[in-house]
């Protein structure tokens, strides 16, 4: 009974509560769950997809609100961003993606810093992004946690999908300590990380001691790393150079942890090793500037990962200047222009991203039971001159 009441109150509070049920017709419907459907239709009720098929073959309630577009895709998923913690003004008051007082702070939660009303969230939503994997950014050896949210809603609780998604780590010079503080070399980074994971293992063992006095006091940093050691939180490791990517794989071997590679500019040099490890990649935006740690980056890396059978998703990443965020729709377009086939490209910002982020039960494809998240286009989604003509999140038409 109480559960039923809760469901009803949720419906009243949720942004889709006011939204009518609706049917969306598509000249071409990319469901990302099977072949595209020409003249397709998607029926959404109560914020969820309830039917998908060819127009005329899906029974529609009389008088239902209908929309129509040349092309319809699943709501897009930005597989790695800092938007919401990092704001468009780029002033100290709106930059919460990085705290550098200590090299490792896995206890920092994204939920405590997210601004759901950030203008860049609106910007991305208007360009088809309905789900964000956002949180602490690169720049520290362990900068904190990430989370997954939807892009329509006024506060973090309203938009929450997954409050703790991954723990963000970063290898290479981009995460050296400020002002000559440790870690100042790659080897020092790995030594610190290994020591901390070993310490977390000891903490975990002591916590399970039968004697109350042998159990250490709660330590939020250690608790988070215990989740990493248990494989419940993947370590999201930002690394661009081949040697850093290999260090990440070595860490995974040593501690038997789940890792996800982030950035991975030189991944094309070692696709065999990444594929053998079965590690997914959240690839840097193809238009990320090709200098510094990314001096060997290529517009063709997405194609190389696809050709090697490595599961990957595209991300908007972190930008410290202009543009303050990249847009995955436009980044995927460049990957396509440089050899990635259309459907894997769409998957890299929808279904494949959902799989890697562990949210494929809710988003990433157009199937009955999934959230009613759709993007409507007036043509080829990746063409420069096409327009996003509508964005629907959990059945609500976003402005």
């Amino acid at each position: 009974m109480s559960r039923l009441l809760l469901m009803i109150s949720c419906l009243l509070l949720a942004p889709w509560a006011a939204a009518a049920d609706l049917a969306v017709f598509a000249g071409r419907l990319y469901t990302q769950a099977g072949a595209p459907i020409d003249n397709g239709v998607v029926l959404i009720r109560g914020g969820k997809i309830v039917a998908v098929g060819r127009r005329g073959e899906v029974a529609l309630p009389p008088g239902i609100l209908t929309l129509e577009a040349a092309v319809v895709t699943p709501g897009l998923i930005d597989a790695r961003t800092v938007v919401g913690l990092s704001g468009y003004m780029n002033q100290p008051h709106d930059q919460d993606q990085l705290e550098i007082s200590a090299p490792m702070q896995p206890q920092l939660r994204a939920v405590d810093a997210y601004n759901a009303r950030e203008r860049l969230v609106d910007w991305l939503r208007e360009l088809g992004v309905t789900t964000l994997h956002t949180g602490h950014g690169p720049g520290a050896l362990i900068s904190g946690q990430t989370m997954i949210v939807k892009t329509l809603g006024n506060n973090v609780d309203e938009v929450m999908v997954k409050p703790a998604a991954m723990v963000a780590a970063h290898l290479g010079p981009g995460a050296f300590g400020a002002e000559n503080r440790s870690p100042g070399t790659r080897a020092a980074q790995i030594a610190l990380l290994r020591q901390q994971l070993i310490k977390a293992g000891e903490y975990r063992d002591q916590q399970s001691s039968r004697k109350a006095e042998a159990r250490p006091a709660r330590d939020l940093e250690m608790e988070t790393l215990v989740e990493v050691l248990a494989g419940r939180l993947p370590l999201l490791i930002t690394a661009h150079r081949e040697q850093d990517l290999r260090s990440a794989l070595r860490l995974r071997e040593e501690f038997a942890i789940r890792i996800v590679l982030d950035g991975a500019a030189e991944a094309y040099l070692m696709t065999d090793a990444i594929a053998a490890a079965g590690v997914p990649v959240l690839l840097h935006p193809p238009m990320a500037r090709q200098f510094g740690e990314l001096e060997n980056a290529s517009f063709t890396t997405a194609k190389a990962l696809h050709d090697a059978g490595i599961p990957f998703a595209l991300q908007s990443g972190f930008e410290s200047y202009v543009p303050k965020t990249r847009v995955i729709l436009w980044e995927a377009a460049i990957a396509v222009a440089y050899g990635l086939p259309f459907e894997p490209a769409l998957a890299s910002i929808s279904s494949q991203a959902a799989e890697i982020l562990g949210i494929a039960d809710r988003v990433g494809s157009i199937e009955p039971g999934k959230d009613g998240d759709l993007v409507l286009f007036d043509g080829d989604p990746f063409e420069y001159t096409s327009q996003v003509v509508g964005v629907i999140i959990e059945g609500a038409l976003a402005d």
Binding site: M89, Q290, F299, Y321, P323, A333, I334
Partner: protein, 430 residues
Amino acid sequence: MRTLIFAVLCAAAVQAHAQERPIAFVGATLIPIEGEVIENGTLLVQSGRIVALGAAIDIPANAELRPVEGRVILPGLVDTHSHIGQVAGADMSGPIQPDVRALDAINVRHAGMLKARAGGITTVNIMPGSGHLLSGQTVYLKLREGNSIEDLAIRLDDGSLAGGIKMANGTNPLRPTPFPGTRGKSAALMRAHLVSAQEYCAKVADRKLAADKRPPRNLGLEAMCEALDGRRIVHHHTHRHDDVLTVLRLAREFDLRVVLHHVSEAGLVAREIAEAGAMASIIHIDSPGGKLEAMHLLPDNGLRLAQAGVLFAYHTDDPITDSRLFLRSAAMGVRFGLDRDTALATLTLNGAKMLDLEQRVGSLSPGKDADFVILDGDPLSVYTRVLETWIEGRQVFDLADPAHALLATGGYGAGRDSVATEVIQLEAMQ
């Protein structure tokens, strides 16, 4: 006599670049920018110049034929604002340094120069940054293959190297003393400098002045004289609407020829810009903000300028946007409402006008330099690639060449343009 020798040397220099045998590019869609699109056309070039173009032109018997059916030929792209070539201008010793020349800093072998060719850029204005009120003299280059800045330089009729002056206002030049701390101080410093330049230039120009009354040579003020007499265009970084008006006010007071750069809030003062007859060199950025002055910069900036009748061009501001994706800037303009013809002009002829080079580059017109780009499709499509870039009748980029293809996409070694110095620096610090 001296002039004669000089003229002969210049002619020799031009000949070194010239290609004698005519080349006919046959069967492409020609987009001349000036004039109608020509389907299945032929472009004939010789001695570094465009000789003729059309659907049915006479091809000389000795011409080399290059079949380019299904291709699209566009004039070489003109980038009015770029920082390729490891350019640096003024140092931190003061806010106004017109004596500093970009040409003394540029590494012609820098990967950025090669990548710009891969993007179809043939003419570029390389500028120092915007952290000063005046950060130095800019240099206009052709991205020819060459070993020295002189090989790439564009020469004016008097043999001097073409370039402008870089100025900036708004927040970028605001720094501790001796830099300005407010906008009012910025304008005051700049006006004072222009006034002293006016006085210097008047004395230098006064032939009646006795030798002992003539001012000693001042390299900075010499460059300012060229700005004041209109030979050097002022390329003025500016974002906020009120800063834009400050530039127009200074330009009016000192009769400067200015091109407004970035002009993020152009939409708010488009009428004033149009009335002043100023041109605008703008950038496409994928999201608003990143700095406070760009918080209102939206991708419809070009549309708003076009609607107000302001002549504008896109620029890369490389590394802010990648030279290889320069075509994309105009395509994004179209996405946000710009018409296609204007969009293509913003990559070519409009930029040429901002560099005083429209008689030489910016369109496929007989007599102009044979600078062009061969594409495999619609210039405004994401799927289109630059296949070849030609400058003055010579191919400088060929996607079919693996070394060039590496630069065109990036990849291992594509960005390496200097030795790794980190270890040496660490040792030197101890």
